[in-house]
């Protein structure tokens, strides 16, 4: 049974909620059961925000993920909060531009990605979360790129469709950066 349980976390406004929706939507069109739930409490009015995503090949029970096997942290407080909660064998993407910590756990696969640098190079700092999603896709190969790309398109509102190419580029640059790290680590 496939049971993917993710937490994506960072500051409000970084695009955390959106990248969670993208992968959950992509999972749906890949014929999985998927669920997404935001933290909608006081934290969504400033400070850290996060969303939970569950992807499964069976009907999903709890939409909450208490011990995620996939995590993206876009800032330092999110690292401190979620890295210790992760299930053994999980994958972690750390945005090194805002989270300087290194994981000391030996039961996780971790990539350290300067997502803001990648985004700025691609063309806009707002793309950092999509770059992180690309890096995540390299570490957790569950959803196909083609479906992720459809998800990115789906998430872009009509008046921002001109940003699609740039978003796709950020996704793939993030993925490349993570693949290079994973390759280096494997050697």
């Amino acid at each position: 049974m496939l049971l993917e349980e993710y937490v994506f976390a960072g500051f409000g406004g970084q695009g955390i909620m959106t990248i969670g929706q993208i992968i959950a939507y992509a999972g749906m069109i890949q014929d999985f059961y998927t669920a997404w739930i935001p933290s909608y409490g006081p934290e969504s009015r400033g400070g850290t925000a996060n969303c939970n995503v569950v992807i499964s090949d069976e009907i999903i029970g709890s939409p909450h993920t208490h011990h995620p096997n996939g995590v993206i942290v876009m800032n330092a407080p999110s690292f401190d909060k979620f890295e210790p909660l992760m299930a053994p064998g999980g994958v972690l993407v750390v945005n090194t531009n805002l989270s300087p910590q290194r994981s000391e756990r030996d039961d996780l696969s971790v990539v350290y990605i300067p997502t803001a640098d990648i985004a700025t190079e691609v063309g806009h700092p707002v793309l950092a979360s999509v770059a992180a999603l690309g890096a995540f896709a390299a570490t957790r190969e569950v959803i196909d790129d083609a479906n992720m790309e459809k998800g990115i398109d789906w998430a872009l509102p009509a008046h921002h469709k001109d940003m699609l190419e740039m978003n796709l580029k950020a996704y793939h640059e993030g993925k490349k950066a993570a693949e290079a790290q994973l390759k280096a680590a494997a050697k």
Binding site: Q21, A24, Y25, M28, D31, Y33, T34, A35, W36, I37, P38, Y40, G41, P42, I59, I60, G61, S62, P63, H64, H66, W154
Partner: protein, 367 residues
């Protein structure tokens, strides 16, 4: 799985269910965690020929709904716990006037202003009254985004069928989450003909239609009461709905609604891998409550105990106790303050109950 699935929030899907049911009037006031209903209605009900008003208060909204449904329109309001409290007077009047309408409560944590996290503290309010007087709301309890749409749709049908207000009782988790939804089971429809009772223009020779909740003479009021009670008794016989998951061989039966029923689903999967026989009984109508269906499990030699997890201090468990009639031990696991259950919150007590059906840590006493 159908190719027609869309990925939506529970609160948005509820609106889509309403549109498909022919809802033409939504009046409401924003409150977290159901703001997306008000927002989505304000943006989209116009596309379906409907009308949206952001009322000055919840009290105003429920009274506007009273007016709209009196004219025969399918009308709906929604809110979250403190806002639903404000609507209770209106609901009582609507129930006595036998007006069909739909109200959704995306429950948050109370009492008082509480907080905006998911909770189930409004079960008593919904199923045992809420407003003054002796009335009942047909109440459906969804546990998925699909059911948010379906149950709003069904609530409109039931409300018109019985000329009774219908409640969709859900919680912040189900309202806020996104999941795939397939609308194939919700074909677009128009409201049924209500010309026999609705308020409309003067028509020469036609007896005047009166919708009222006041009968000053107790003899007249008793007749009106009996009509209501007769309706409720028929509802109890005809409209009870529930869902079962792995209950055929279950030795411990979990009775849960809303998001705790989802976590129960996860917990049962874990326990089944250990060979433990646990099943989920999920009331879909919490009024009328499925007493008889639960009593069958209480009568079964196989069932050792029943467990009720709730995000409150113990409310639905009183109905489960009425169903079980002390034939089996009934256990309770609570989650407070707007915290949500983890599967471990349930797997641990269930293992203990399987070892000792009278396990004292969770055993529920009526006191």
């Amino acid at each position: 799985m159908s190719d027609e699935r869309v990925f939506m929030k529970g609160n948005h899907a509820a609106c889509e269910g309403a549109y498909r049911a022919g809802c033409k009037a939504y009046f409401g006031y924003p409150i977290t965690p159901q703001n997306e209903v008000t927002e989505y209605m304000s943006a989209h009900i116009w596309e379906h020929g409907g009308t949206f008003i952001q009322s000055e208060s919840e009290v105003a909204a429920i009274n506007m709904i009273m007016g709209a449904s009196a004219t025969g329109a399918r009308a709906m309001t929604s809110s979250s716990s403190p806002g639903i409290s404000l609507k209770q007077e209106g609901l009582s009047y609507i129930a006595m006037m036998e007006l069909p309408m739909v109200v959704m409560n995306v429950v948050r944590c109370g009492p008082g202003l509480g907080n905006i996290a998911p909770h189930q503290g409004d079960y008593f309010q919904t199923t045992k009254g809420g407003g003054h007087g002796d009335y009942r709301l047909i109440t459906l309890a969804p546990n998925s985004v699909q059911e948010m749409a379906q149950f709003i749709y069904d609530a409109f049908i039931l409300a018109d069928k019985w000329r009774n207000p219908a409640m969709v009782l859900t919680d912040g988790t189900i309202g806020q989450m996104m999941e795939p939804v397939d609308y194939a089971s919700m074909p677009w429809m128009d409201p049924p003909d209500k010309s026999e009772w609705q308020l409309d223009e003067f028509q020469e020779g036609r007896e005047r239609h009166v919708l009222t909740s006041i009968w000053l003479d107790p003899v007249d009021m008793a007749v009106a009461h009996e009509k209501l009670i007769d309706k409720y008794e028929r509802l109890k016989k005809e409209e009870v709905r529930y869902d079962e998951y792995l209950t055929e061989d279950a030795e411990v039966l979990v009775v849960a609604i809303g998001s705790p029923s989802r976590v129960t689903h996860s917990a049962i999967r874990i326990l089944r891998q250990e060979g433990l026989k646990v099943g989920l009984f999920r009331p879909i109508t919490v009024w009328p409550f499925p007493y008889d269906a639960i009593r069958k499990y209480a009568d079964s030699k196989r069932v050792k105990a029943i467990l009720v997890p709730e995000m409150n201090w113990g409310q639905m468990i009183e109905d489960v106790k009425l169903a079980v009639l002390d034939k089996k031990p009934v256990h309770f696991v609570a989650k407070h303050g707007g915290l949500t259950f983890t599967p471990e919150d349930l797997t641990e007590p269930i293992r203990a109950i399987l070892k000792n059906p009278e396990e004292p840590n969770t055993l529920w006493h009526v006191s």
